[in-house]
């Protein structure tokens, strides 16, 4: 077994928490995170060095990204701080088209000389690869934006909040969990600030300041006599917000069934940890589900992952065309299905939208990593597949001439490529509450929070677990269930969607470390929805005796 398999943080669950060490830069002090970094006028001058060098070497297009990536991660368990990580990574990535072919090079030597050298390398790579390239790169036109800026609309910059305050908050959440019966608790706070300067030969100079935050924990309860243990993960969502997400505002809480409290744009970690400990203990004696067909009522913090896997990934155009065939796979949503204009992805109440502008979301930016102004567009309208996710060098393949603006690179030293925008289910038009979803279900299960997830390489067959499960009998929640997972087929599943709560229940789920490409790059993306009901879904029992 490879060492990286053991870097997982025990107790925090899901593989998504594997520490992506490549994202970390040089360790610095928390105070140094506040350093404003390089002045924008200097960045512009350096960017021009890259663009002019590229042009003089015969490149027909060039873009340059000067990036400063700041991370602060805090890890605790029970009453102990495990680690506080503050890192900074600073450098420049230059991408060019020469002889109709892409070339890319990067350097952490952010000076005239360093940039000239890297630009030379990028052009040389493009020219070398041009010899084996079969089709010339074709870029969709883009507007020249001049000098512009964009900033995540945060209220509290995490960098200005003392580390001690963050540590205290996590330790208080851990203590609350332990006081309420948890045997173990691991908690973590991930905070990211991307300071990205982009310039291209199209005449844009774009300065962006992007913030993200993710508080999370895993609480474990153990029954020593039976040897059983159960974990309950946090019901938080990673967000494109500042530290204000940790305020726990009462106005952003939503009451779920069985006293469950759910969170919209503000998270109360102490309350959730308290609830988690009680629920983990309840799970130890929860009824094991009987396998069969159930009507599923899926809460947004759960449904988001299903949207991510069964809608987000299959509608990435590079997957559809086969560019990702050797890694994550291809897609069932082939071009002929899209061209037919009548492929029923879901029932007629299903509207799935791609979005790079939604406030509070992880995918929100003003401009993507190739200088395209971001927007919102339809993927599935009234149940029918209408579009994909594509960037400047791809849209011509689907007969469009405007990039969707979803190009992204995880760092200055990685080349940008098509990444998933926020993909969300629109709320229902009729006024429905969570209770309305449950009240006419005879035999069903209410599922909240993310759990185990697995889907095939063309995104047909999937299996999802969850964080907490409640049995619904004759329109009422009757108790907790255990050993639940549902298996379905993407098209069948979305066509079984019969009811969606209205806007008042809408909230975001997020994936902080979504992987794609070889070498693999991560990105962060949100998925919004309201609670929705899916009828007659196959549920299996995952309990085993060994």
């Amino acid at each position: 077994m490879k060492r990286r398999e053991f870097v997982q943080y025990a107790g925090l669950g899901a593989g998504a928490l594997m520490m992506p060490s490549l994202l970390l830069g040089n360790n610095i002090s928390a105070e140094a995170l506040l350093d404003p970094g390089m002045d924008v006028a200097i960045k512009k001058a350096l960017a021009d060095v890259a663009l002019n060098t590229a042009k003089s070497l015969g490149a027909s297009y060039a873009d340059v990204r000067i990036g400063r990536y700041l991370n602060q991660y805090v890890f605790t368990r029970e009453d102990k701080v495990q680690n506080v990580v503050n890192t900074e990574s600073f450098g420049v990535g230059i991408r060019v088209i020469a002889n109709g072919t892409w070339g890319f090079a990067s350097t952490n030597n952010v000076s005239d000389d360093g940039i000239k050298k890297a630009t030379n390398q990028a052009v040389a790579i493009a020219k070398a690869n041009a010899k084996i390239q079969k089709e010339e790169v074709k870029l969709a036109p883009v507007e020249s934006h001049g000098e512009v800026t964009w900033k995540t609309p945060i209220k509290k910059d995490f960098k200005e909040v003392p580390v001690s305050e963050k540590v205290d908050l996590l330790l208080s959440a851990n203590a609350a969990a332990q006081q309420n019966g948890a045997n173990f608790v691991n908690s973590a706070l991930f905070m990211v600030n991307e300071q990205k300067y982009f310039a291209s030969t199209e005449g844009s100079y774009i300065d962006q300041d992007v913030h993200r935050i993710w508080p999370t924990f895993g609480v474990t309860a153990i029954d020593r006599s039976t040897g059983k243990f159960k974990s309950r993960q946090a019901l938080s969502a990673p967000m494109g917000m500042g530290y204000e997400y940790m305020d726990g505002l009462a106005s952003e809480k939503i009451k779920g069934p069985d006293d469950l409290i759910l969170y919209r744009n503000s998270y109360d970690i102490i309350e959730d940890a308290t609830m988690a400990a009680k629920q983990a203990k309840q799970m130890l004696t929860a009824k094991s589900v009987e396998a069969g067909k159930y009507d599923l009522v899926l809460e947004p913090n759960h449904l988001g992952l299903t949207i991510h896997e069964s809608v987000g990934h299959p509608l990435e155009l590079d997957r559809v065309l086969g560019y990702e065939a050797n890694y994550a796979g291809t897609s069932f949503a082939t071009l002929d299905k899209w061209k037919s204009k009548d492929f029923e992805y879901g029932s007629n109440i299903v509207n799935l939208v791609a979005d790079k502008v939604q406030p509070g979301s992880l995918g929100a930016v003003g401009y993507d990593d190739e200088g395209v102004k971001t927007k919102k567009w339809d993927l599935v309208r009234d149940g029918v597949l209408v579009n994909y996710q594509a960037i400047r060098d791809q849209v011509h393949m689907i007969d469009q001439n405007e990039s969707h603006g979803c190009c992204y690179a995880q760092s200055w030293n990685d080349v940008q490529f098509q990444r998933m925008p926020n993909v969300s289910l629109e709320p229902g038009k009729e006024k429905y509450s969570i209770d309305d979803m449950i009240k006419d279900v005879e035999k069903g299960i209410y599922i909240a929070g993310r759990g185990s997830y697995s889907i095939d390489q063309q995104r047909y067959n999937f299996q999802f677990g969850g964080t907490v499960f409640y049995e619904i009998k004759d329109g009422k929640i009757v108790g907790m269930l255990d050993d639940v997972a549902y298996q379905s087929n993407t098209q069948e599943f979305w066509n079984s969607c019969v009811k969606i709560c209205d806007e008042s229940d809408y909230r975001l789920f997020g994936s902080f470390f979504d992987g794609k490409g070889q070498p693999s790059q991560v990105s962060a993306v949100s998925h919004g929805s309201s609670t929705a009901r899916f009828n007659g879904v196959n549920v299996i029992n995952t309990g085993r005796k060994i």
């Binding site: 077994m1 490879k2 107790g11 079969k134 040897g227 059983k228 243990f229 095939d456 070498p519 005796k545």
Partner: protein, 438 residues
């Protein structure tokens, strides 16, 4: 130049250590040169080269520790990084689990570096792609692949007199071949320390043949089947099982290795008695470094002996808490095999499924080590000792513990992801649904 010799690395690290004013100081240094080529739709899509070097300083004052990193090794930079680690240590909260730097150790010489791999050129990489793409195109098959080679070193020096150094090379190759009509898909993986063992054409042919053979698969009912698992199909489940060998979570009562009523399953028989699994950094077929991240020597270690749990891994901290010797996590694993070839295993199977690989494996229940995932890139129905026809992919829900209890026969070992894993015939493997994915 990112690959330093033992002497060069030691000199730089000693210089850095000379600036230390902390109670303890640990310096780790590493560097690597790597190159890759990626192709899809029978054409090269990207290629790249990466060079990096880094020096990490961990300083501690009592149980407060701080870490700082730098990629320049001149005296001024070295002093700066040591000062920064010390500043961070002073500012950090106390970590009750902090362990003082380890004293001097003796290590075996590793077998991980091969000059041939360190000398891979961009032309060689392009040739790998061509050896995949050309035969694929000739058979109307579409190739998508990735080849990566790397050479690097890592070294460690601390204020208690420990010094460790290792140099290694690696290459990884995967290719997916798909028939033009999209009904067949084959895949292959190869990894070596020594690139002279790698044959891109041979590997690509395996994937091309599988793509053609797996075309137009028939659906058969999911259920419990006898399966022949190629090493690529079982390595993921075995690796996941390996994670359960952590003594701490077992002692804490939250692992498969925890025992009802307290204690651990150490010494208990958990799988078929023909199962023997060990790790060995000096096996020339799958060599690894001979020391771990905390500086402890890594030696041959038995994990499962005749089906029973022989050892659990203890971090330095947990070993101290429990009053035992630390046992480092392994960096490879070797599962004992038999003499049977894949053909032999197929020949004596009356009714079964041959599985090329398992994909998207995710944990379902840590209590029983239940995992789910799907078959991919070549799944075939076997009847009366012969492959009859390709079958559609299945989703499985299975625990490696149950799988290794249902062992029918072990076949030959194959290197896979740096480990040695045998072909295995397993009865009653649980497939829970069908997938249309190719």
């Amino acid at each position: 130049m990112a690959i330093y010799t033992k002497e060069e690395a030691k000199q730089i690290m000693e210089k850095a250590l000379s600036f230390s004013k902390a109670d303890g100081c640990v310096i780790n240094m590493s560097g690597s040169e790597s190159g890759n080529i990626r192709y899809a739709r029978n054409t090269v899509t990207t290629s790249g080269h990466r060079s990096n070097q880094t020096l990490v300083v961990q300083s501690n004052f009592g149980k407060k520790s701080g870490t700082a990193t730098i990629d320049e090794f001149d005296d001024k930079s070295l002093e700066k990084v040591v000062r920064r680690a010390e500043e961070l240590a002073k500012l950090s909260p106390e970590s009750p689990e902090f362990m003082d730097p380890l004293g001097p150790q003796t290590y075996d010489d590793s077998l991980t570096f091969k000059e041939s791999t360190a000398n891979v050129s961009p032309e060689y990489r392009a040739e790998v792609a061509a050896k995949s793409i050309n035969p694929a195109a000739a058979k109307d098959v579409t190739a998508a692949g990735f080849f990566n080679d790397s050479a690097g070193f890592s070294a460690m020096l601390n204020s208690n007199g420990l010094f460790a150094y290792n140099k290694s090379t690696n290459m990884d190759f995967t290719v997916t071949m798909r028939t033009k009509d999209g009904t067949g898909s084959g895949w292959v993986t190869r990894d070596y320390n020594d690139i002279t063992q790698f044959d891109a054409a041979e590997a690509s042919k395996v994937a091309i043949d599988k793509a053609i053979m797996s075309s137009k698969a028939k659906a058969i009912e999911p259920g419990k089947y006898t399966v022949i698992l190629e090493p690529a199909a079982s390595v993921g489940l075995l690796g996941n099982m390996g994670r359960a060998f952590d003594a701490r979570t077992a002692d804490e009562g939250r692992s498969f290795m925890s025992k009802e009523g307290g204690g651990t399953k150490l010494g208990e028989k958990i799988v078929d008695e023909r199962v023997n699994i060990w790790s060995d950094p000096l096996d020339p077929r799958v060599p690894t470094g001979t020391w771990d991240g905390s500086g402890q020597p890594v030696k041959k270690m038995q994990w499962i002996e005749n089906g029973a749990v022989k050892n659990l891994a203890y971090s330095r901290y947990w070993a101290k808490e429990k009053g035992v010797n630390p046992v480092p996590f392994p960096s490879n694993f070797i599962m004992e095999g038999g003499d049977a070839s894949l053909e032999d295993l197929i020949k004596d199977t009356k009714k079964g499924i041959l599985v090329t690989r398992l994909w998207y494996i995710r944990g379902v229940d840590p209590q029983t080590l239940l995992y789910t995932g799907l078959t991919r890139d070549g799944t075939f129905y076997i009847e009366n000792g012969k492959i009859k026809h390709p079958v559609k992919n299945f989703r499985f829900n299975e625990s490696p513990i149950i799988m290794l209890n249902n062992l029918e026969k072990l076949g030959k070992q194959v290197r896979i992801d740096g480990n040695l894993v045998p072909y295995m015939k397993i009865r009653d493997f649980t497939f829970t649904s069908l997938s249309d994915a190719v």
